[in-house]
């Protein structure tokens, strides 16, 4: 029981990180139909920017977080410019184009920061909460709360604000959206900026739990992509639920099957997606006539 609950706690913490990354994936996909395989590397960039500001420039953690998020968002706008020709292309092209861009980001990071990584500490030293042997770190709780808050904020932004509605409209029917006077190109740039910002936030939040190095985004990116699919690609609640689900699945699989955990995670995932390709909250049409 203790193991079970503790596994849930651990799974949810990393699940929340996956959820944040998956949110960015989904937002970019639903707005401009781009499957961005460089998203994990954008996370890496955000994490490096944040950790460098903390370690080298001695900025306060909160300032570093905000600044690195804004900076990554700005970079995201640039990336959107470069990847714009890939929108609505077939997956082969998006795959190799965005993977190629990921290679650019990774080798760029090695050139700038070198191969050695950076470690940042958990920003506050609050005592762990112990409930009948189940230990919850305040930082883990903060990540969960942050993911929930960001997910909710994004949901409200998309559903309640003019800009959010315009982005949704562009995603649903870009021709009709431009017939409303919406500049669809700008919506895409904004979506990419927000998606990149989400990756940067996830990178900053995850940094104290990991070690910031050029390849830190790879395994996070793959799991987050799986999470976005499992939740239903393009769906905001789906990204959250999918992220938590992958986090839990991963934790239980490695707990129960040890070294074979990764095998179990991905085979289970493949089976689930095969049974329900649309995911939990998914797109309703997969192949149109």
């Amino acid at each position: 029981m203790e193991v079970f609950v503790q596994t849930v706690v651990g799974g949810l913490t990393f699940g929340a990180i996956y959820a944040l990354v998956a949110l960015g994936f989904s937002l970019i996909y639903r707005t401009m139909a781009l499957v961005n395989f460089a998203h994990g590397d954008v996370l890496m960039l955000g994490a490096y920017l944040g950790s460098t500001m903390i370690l080298s420039f001695r900025l306060p953690v909160a300032v570093a977080m905000v600044a690195s998020t804004l900076l990554t968002a700005a970079v995201g706008i640039g990336i959107e410019r470069i990847l714009r020709p890939l929108e609505n292309k077939d997956l082969d092209l998006m795959l190799i184009g965005t993977l190629g861009f990921g290679i650019v980001l990774q080798s760029g990071a090695i050139i700038v920061w070198g191969t050695a990584g950076q470690a940042v500490r958990i920003p506050f030293g609050a005592a762990p909460i112990d409930i009948a042997g189940i230990i919850v770190q305040p930082y883990d709780l903060m990540i969960l709360v942050a993911a929930a808050a960001i997910g909710t904020a994004l949901y409200l932004f998309l559903g309640r604000t003019k800009l959010g509605l315009a982005m949704q409209a562009s995603a649903m029917d870009f021709q009709a959206a431009s017939a409303m006077g919406i500049d669809v190109g700008r919506m895409n740039a904004i979506a990419f900026a927000i998606g990149s910002a989400l990756a940067a936030i996830a990178g900053n939040l995850a940094a104290p739990l990991l070690y910031v190095e050029p390849t830190v985004g790879v395994s996070l990116g793959i799991r987050a992509f799986a999470a976005a699919m499992l939740g239903g690609f393009g769906s905001i609640p789906g990204a959250i639920v999918g992220g938590l689900a992958i986090g839990l699945l991963d934790s239980f699989a490695t707990g129960m099957f040890q070294g074979y955990g990764e095998v179990v995670t991905f085979v289970t995932f493949a089976l689930l997606i095969s049974l329900r390709p649309t995911g939990i909250f998914g797109e309703h049409t997969i192949s149109r006539v």
Binding site: M172, D173, S178, A179
Partner: protein, 250 residues
């Protein structure tokens, strides 16, 4: 009279006429529209009729830069639409009701309408406009919180028209507003469009439904294979055997 008010002088772009000259539209190697010229005077109503595939919708799409390639001249007042991007056409004061409605199915009725006024600040003016649209289409008000995708075909058409009117356009372009509508609903659309005309808004209409066309438009252009083969007032064309031929193959 109508719930619709004319655009207030403060906000209105100068009402002007639409001029289309020598317009051609190409899809790859295929020419869908060949050297079509016409104009819609300020406050006028023009309809383009013809069989499926004659190129009617392509003309409207060309206005909004939604076709692969177009040549010729399209101007609305002082705005050269050939140089405007899709969304900038709307800024010039043109509202568009696309073929097949193209409402945002995943958004609510009210969100759809508000997006029609995307270029304006969503303030009291827009709220007032929204109220006017609801007065014009009372059914939409009762469904304001519902997802637009769940509306019936007729309601969706009303929504598409209402959405286009939210920006207080001086010219409204409609692509087959009667498609798939029951006769009673076609009458309703015709009624709305007629009332719209009384507010001074110009109309450009692509239609299959002859009754609606002749009821609403002053002038009709008959298109065949991308070419304008006939033009005239609704009254003249209504009894023209050529039109009958186009419609019924007699």
């Amino acid at each position: 009279m109508s719930a619709l008010t004319m655009p207030t002088t403060r906000e209105a772009p100068t009402a002007s006429s639409l001029v289309v000259e020598q317009l051609s539209v190409f899809y790859g190697g295929v020419q869908a529209v060949r050297d079509v010229s016409f104009s819609v005077p300020q406050g006028g109503a023009v309809a383009i009729i013809g069989a499926n595939g004659a190129g009617k919708s392509s003309i409207l799409k060309a206005m909004f830069d939604l076709v692969p390639r177009r040549t010729g001249r399209i101007a609305y007042g002082s705005t050269d639409l050939m140089r405007a991007k899709s969304h900038e056409v709307v800024w010039a004061g043109i509202g568009y009701v696309p073929e097949g409605r193209r409402i945002f199915a995943g958004l609510t009725v009210e969100q759809n309408l508000l997006l029609g006024a995307y270029r304006k600040r969503w303030d009291a003016h827009v709220r007032a406009r929204l109220a006017e649209i609801y007065e014009l289409f009372p059914k939409l008000e009762t469904r304001r919180g519902r997802l637009a995708g769940g509306l019936s075909g007729g309601e969706q058409q009303m929504l598409a028209i209402g959405r286009a009117l939210m920006s207080q356009p001086t010219l409204v372009v409609l692509d087959e507003p009667s498609m798939g509508l029951a006769p009673v609903l076609v009458d309703e659309v015709a009624d709305v469009l007629s009332r719209l005309r009384t507010t001074g808004v110009s109309l450009l209409l692509v239609e299959q439904n002859a009754e609606l066309t002749f009821a609403v438009a002053d002038t009709c252009i008959v298109l065949e294979n991308g070419r304008a083969v006939l033009a005239g007032s609704s009254g003249e064309l209504q009894s023209d055997p050529e039109v009958r031929r186009v419609y019924l193959g007699l």
